[in-house]
C-alpha cells in the first residue's frame, strides 16, 4: 500500500473529462481510486490526441494524462444488477466522484440521499458546468462555453479579434483542483464527526472566482477591463508581460519600487552593453522608480527599447545569461522546453510510466507537490477498460468467474 497522505481511503470515480482530474489528484494523495466506466469505456476515452493518432479508446493521451494510478471496472449503472453492485462497492467506499448532468444519479436511485442512507459517511463530489441547481443546470456545455460564461474568456485575446481561450482545458483543471479541495475538506470533517455530505462544484463559478481584479474594477469603478493581447492590466498600470525574442517568447515586466529595482537595473545595464539606444538610463534611482507615475510616452519608449533588445537574444541566452545578471525573465516555454527543463528534472518532477500494451514508456508529471513525510505521486499508467474487473468483482465482492461471465454477456459489466 502506498504511503500517501490519504492512503487507505477509497473513491469511486464516475466522471468524464469534466471531472477526472479530481480523481487523479486524490489518487496522487494515496486514495485508492476506482474508475467506474460504462461497458465499452468512458466516452471521454475518445478525446484526442491519440497515441500515433489512431483513434482508439485505449490510446487517448488526454485520458492517459488524467487517469493514471486509478483502477478501472466497467459497470452499467442503468441496470438493476449494476445498481446493486455499485451500492455494494459504495458501502465500502469513502468518496463518490461524478460529473453527470444534475438529476441523472437521482433518477437511477443513486443520488446523494440514496447513497447516504446506505453509507452516511459517504462524500459525493459532483462536478458540473453550472452546478446542481436551476436555471442553467441542464445547459449543454464544454470547456469553451463555460470559459465564456465565467468571464475569463472575455479578458483574453488580441483587441482586434474575438476573445480567445487559454491553454487546453484550463478551466476544467482549475475546477477539478477546487473539487479535490472541497472533497478533502469534507473528508476531514467526516473523519471527526462521521458526517458525510455532497460537494457541489460549478465549473463556471470556479473560473468566475478568478476574476478578482476585473470584478473589483466593475464593483467599485464601473470600469470593464478588456482583453489586450500580451499586455497586463492588473490594477491601472498597463504593462507588457510577453515579448518576442529571437526564437520564441519571453516573460518579463517592468516592476516599480524595490521589488523591481535589481532586475530593472540589470536589464538596463545589459541593453547598454549591447550598445543599443537605452531610454531606461534616464531613471536615476531604480529603488525609487514609481511605475504608476510613468507617462504613456515614456512607457512606450521603454517598451520599444526593451522589445528591440529581447529580439536580439535567444530563449537560451535570456534564460542563462539573464539568470546570471538577475534580470528575472522567464522563457515562455513550449511543451518540448518544459519536458527538457533542468530545474524540473532536478526536482524529480517526471515519472516514466510503462504502457506494455503499446510497448512504450511515457514521461508524465509526477506530483502536484512534495511532502517530506509521505509519498504523494504517480506510479502507474491509466488503466485499460475494465482492467480490474476480476480483481474487484471476483476477489473483492466474491463473484465466481461464471457469474462475472454472465454479467459480461448481459452487458452489466
Amino acid at each position: 500500500m502506498a504511503n500517501g497522505l490519504l492512503s487507505g481511503f477509497r473513491a469511486l470515480d464516475l466522471t468524464d473529462e469534466k471531472g477526472f482530474a479530481c480523481g487523479k489528484i486524490l489518487a496522487s494523495l494515496g486514495v485508492d481510486v476506482i474508475k467506474i466506466e460504462k461497458p465499452g469505456g468512458d466516452p471521454a476515452r475518445n478525446i484526442p490526441p491519440f497515441y500515433q493518432d489512431i483513434p482508439d479508446p485505449e490510446k487517448s493521451l488526454y485520458w492517459f494524462a488524467f487517469n493514471s494510478d486509478k483502477q478501472s471496472i466497467t459497470l452499467n449503472l442503468e441496470t438493476s444488477q449494476g445498481h446493486d453492485l455499485f451500492m455494494k462497492l459504495m458501502k465500502k467506499s469513502d468518496f463518490v466522484l461524478e460529473s453527470f448532468p444534475p438529476d441523472y444519479m437521482d433518477r437511477l436511485g443513486l443520488g446523494y440521499e440514496a447513497l447516504s442512507r446506505v453509507n452516511p459517511k459517504i462524500i459525493m463530489t459532483s462536478i458540473t458546468p453550472f452546478g446542481q441547481k436551476a436555471p442553467y443546470n441542464h445547459y449543454k456545455s464544454c470547456e469553451l462555453v463555460v470559459a465564456a460564461m465565467s468571464g475569463v474568456l472575455e479578458t483574453t485575446g488580441d483587441p482586434d479579434r474575438p476573445p480567445v481561450k487559454e491553454s487546453p482545458n484550463s478551466v476544467y483543471f482549475q475546477a477539478n483542483a477546487a473539487a479535490a479541495l472541497g472533497t478533502v475538506i469534507s473528508h476531514y470533517h467526516r473523519e471527526i464527526t462521521g458526517e458525510g455530505q455532497q460537494v457541489d462544484v460549478s465549473i463556471q463559478e470556479c473560473a468566475a472566482s478568478r476574476n478578482i481584479n476585473s470584478l473589483l474594477s466593475w464593483l467599485f469603478d464601473k470600469r470593464l477591463i478588456k482583453r489586450s493581447g500580451a499586455i497586463n492590466l492588473l490594477g491601472r498600470i498597463r504593462s507588457r508581460w510577453i515579448w518576442p525574442c529571437k526564437d520564441g517568447y519571453i516573460y518579463w515586466y517592468l516592476l516599480g519600487g524595490q521589488l523591481g529595482a535589481s532586475s530593472n537595473r540589470a536589464l538596463s545595464k545589459w541593453i547598454d552593453e549591447d550598445g543599443m539606444e537605452n531610454p531606461l538610463r534616464q531613471v536615476a534611482n531604480w529603488d525609487e522608480f514609481d511605475r504608476a507615475a510613468l507617462t504613456e510616452e515614456t512607457n512606450d519608449a521603454f517598451e520599444e527599447a526593451i522589445g528591440k533588445f529581447f529580439l536580439r537574444h535567444t530563449k537560451k541566452e535570456i534564460a542563462e545569461e539573464g539568470l546570471k545578471r538577475g534580470i528575472n525573465a522567464a522563457v515562455v516555454n513550449n511543451p518540448a522546453d518544459v519536458l527538457a527543463n533542468r530545474h524540473l528534472a532536478v526536482r524529480n518532477f517526471w515519472a516514466d510510466l510503462g504502457y506494455p500494451e503499446l510497448g512504450i514508456t511515457l514521461t508524465h508529471p509526477k506530483h502536484f507537490f512534495l511532502c517530506n513525510g509521505t509519498e504523494n505521486y504517480v506510479r502507474r499508467r491509466a488503466p485499460l477498460i475494465g482492467e480490474d474487473n476480476d480483481e474487484i468483482y471476483g476477489k473483492e465482492l466474491g463473484l465466481s468467474s461464471r457469474e462475472i461471465a454472465v454479467l459480461k454477456e448481459t452487458n452489466v459489466i
Binding site: 490526441p49 500515433q52 460564461m149 483542483a177 468566475a208 490594477g235 511543451p335 511515457l362
Partner: protein, 409 residues
C-alpha cells in the same frame, strides 16, 4: 440539505505568512471553512494588497481601504508583529506552539533568514504542518529565484498555448491562473496532512511549486509531443474534435457568443436552429472532417448568422436545441445578469468597517452541509490583542509590556 451550522475545519489553527495572492488565498480556503487563521502582518512592510490602489476607493495612506486585500483574506484574523524586533520571538514561539499549520510563500530561503525554518518550528511544535508555496519550489537550481503568476504560467508551457496561430501568445488581461489554482493544492495538502496527523501523530513539510502545478495542467500536450512528436501550439478557439467551435460576433459593442458543435446530432440541431440555410447542406460541411477542412469558410457563414442576434438570444436558441453555447460574459454580466451565479451565491454582500458593503466571493465548491461561512477581512492588526490574550493566553501585563516596546508594529 440541512446546514448543520458547524464548519468543516472548526478547531484547526493556522499561522498565515501569506504574501500577495498565492499564500493569502491558501489561508483563505481554510478560514472560509472554519479554521482559525491568524495572518501575521507588519506595519513597516505592508503586503502588496495593503497598498494596492487599483480601485478609486483605495487611498495612499490607509491599509484598510483595499478591497483587493479583502478578496484575498476573508474570515481571517490579523496581528501585526515586527519580526525584526528582539522580543518578537517570544510571540512567534507561542504562535508556533498554538498552531497546527504554518503557511508561507516567500521566496525560498526567506523564512530561514527570519529564523523561522521548518527545523526550528518543528523543535517547538514537533507535529507542525508547514507549507512553503512558491513559483519554483524549495529545491532545484532555480529555487532561490523569485517570480509571480506569469512566471509560473510561462515556464509551465501554459502561456505558449493561448492565442492565434499566426500571432504570439496572449494571456488574460487581469485574471490570474497559477496564483489561484496553486492555493487549491496548498490547502488540499494541508487538510490531508491534518487528517494524516490525526491518524499517525506526525507532522509534515510540504513544498508546492506553481510551475509544477501548472505543468500538470498541460500534461496531455506534453504527452502528444513525446508520443507523436507533435509540438502543439496556439489554435485560436479551435479544437480538433469539434466544428464549429468558436466565439462569434453578436449585436452590441464587443459582444460575443461561444458555440461548440461536437456530434453529428448537434450539427443537425445547429443547422435546424439557424433555419437550415442552403450552405448547411453542402458536402464540404457534411462531416466533422470536412467541416474541419473548411473551417475558415464555416466560421464566416456562422458569423453572418450570429451578427443578427444578441449573445443572450443565441445562447437561449442554441440551448433549447441542446447545442452548447454561452454568452461571453464580462464582469458586469457576472455581477448583474447571471441568474445562475446569483443562485450559487457567487458574491455575498458583507460589510467591511472601512469600505462598507460590497460583494465578497464565496468558495465555488459548495460543501452542502458544513457550509462556508465567509466573514469580511480584518483591518491591519485588528486582532493583535485578541490573539495574544485570548488565543495565546498572555496576561494583560505581558501584552502591554510588549506593546509598549513596539513589538506589535
Amino acid at each position: 440539505m440541512k446546514n448543520t451550522g458547524k464548519q468543516a475545519l472548526d478547531g484547526v489553527k493556522v499561522l498565515d505568512f501569506g504574501w500577495a495572492f498565492l499564500g493569502a488565498l491558501s489561508g483563505r480556503h481554510l478560514a472560509d471553512h472554519g479554521a482559525q487563521v491568524v495572518r501575521i502582518e507588519s506595519r513597516a512592510r505592508l503586503g502588496p494588497a495593503r497598498v494596492d490602489r487599483q480601485v478609486s476607493i483605495s487611498t495612499a495612506n490607509n491599509p484598510d481601504d483595499k478591497p483587493l486585500f479583502t478578496y484575498l483574506n476573508t474570515s481571517k484574523y490579523s496581528i501585526t508583529l515586527d519580526l525584526k524586533h528582539p522580543r518578537a520571538k517570544e510571540v512567534i514561539t507561542r504562535l508556533i506552539h498554538w498552531a497546527d499549520v504554518v503557511v508561507e510563500n516567500f521566496t525560498p530561503g526567506t523564512m530561514r533568514k527570519l529564523g523561522l525554518s521548518y527545523e526550528y518550528m518543528s523543535k517547538i511544535n514537533p507535529d507542525i504542518i508547514m507549507v512553503g508555496a512558491s513559483v519554483y519550489g524549495q529545491t532545484g537550481p532555480l529555487a532561490r529565484e523569485w517570480g509571480v503568476d506569469g512566471t509560473g504560467n510561462s515556464l509551465s508551457g501554459r502561456y505558449y498555448l493561448a492565442g492565434w496561430p499566426d500571432r504570439g501568445p496572449v494571456m488574460p488581461t487581469s485574471v490570474l491562473y497559477g496564483d489561484v489554482v496553486t492555493p487549491y493544492f496548498v490547502s488540499s495538502a494541508v487538510v490531508a496532512a491534518l487528517d494524516y496527523k490525526r491518524r499517525t501523530g506526525k507532522g509534515q513539510y510540504i513544498d508546492v511549486s506553481m510551475l509544477e502545478v501548472c505543468a500538470n495542467q498541460i500534461a496531455p500536450v506534453i504527452l502528444d509531443w513525446e508520443a507523436n512528436a507533435r509540438l502543439q501550439t496556439r489554435t485560436g478557439n479551435r479544437i480538433s474534435y469539434a466544428a464549429p467551435h468558436g466565439v462569434f460576433p453578436c449585436i452590441g459593442d464587443d459582444r460575443w457568443c461561444a458555440i461548440a458543435v461536437f456530434t453529428n446530432e448537434e450539427w443537425q440541431a445547429f443547422c435546424h436552429v439557424i433555419g437550415d440555410p442552403p450552405w448547411t447542406k453542402e458536402q464540404r460541411f457534411a462531416t466533422l472532417k470536412s467541416r474541419k477542412e473548411n473551417e475558415d469558410e464555416l466560421e464566416k457563414l456562422v458569423a453572418e448568422w450570429t451578427r443578427k442576434y444578441s449573445a443572450e438570444e443565441i445562447m437561449q436558441i442554441m440551448q433549447e436545441a441542446a447545442v452548447a453555447a454561452g454568452v461571453v460574459q464580462n464582469s458586469q454580466d457576472l455581477v448583474e445578469h447571471d441568474p445562475q451565479l446569483e443562485e450559487r451565491g457567487f458574491l455575498v454582500p458583507l460589510k467591511h468597517p472601512v469600505i462598507g458593503v460590497f460583494g465578497h466571493p464565496t468558495p465555488p465548491y459548495k460543501l452542502l452541509k458544513t457550509k462556508a461561512g465567509v466573514r469580511t477581512s480584518p483591518c491591519l492588526g485588528e486582532h493583535t490583542e485578541y490573539v495574544c490574550t485570548q488565543l495565546l493566553g498572555m496576561s494583560d501585563e505581558e501584552f502591554l509590556e510588549l506593546f509598549q516596546e513596539k513589538v506589535f508594529e
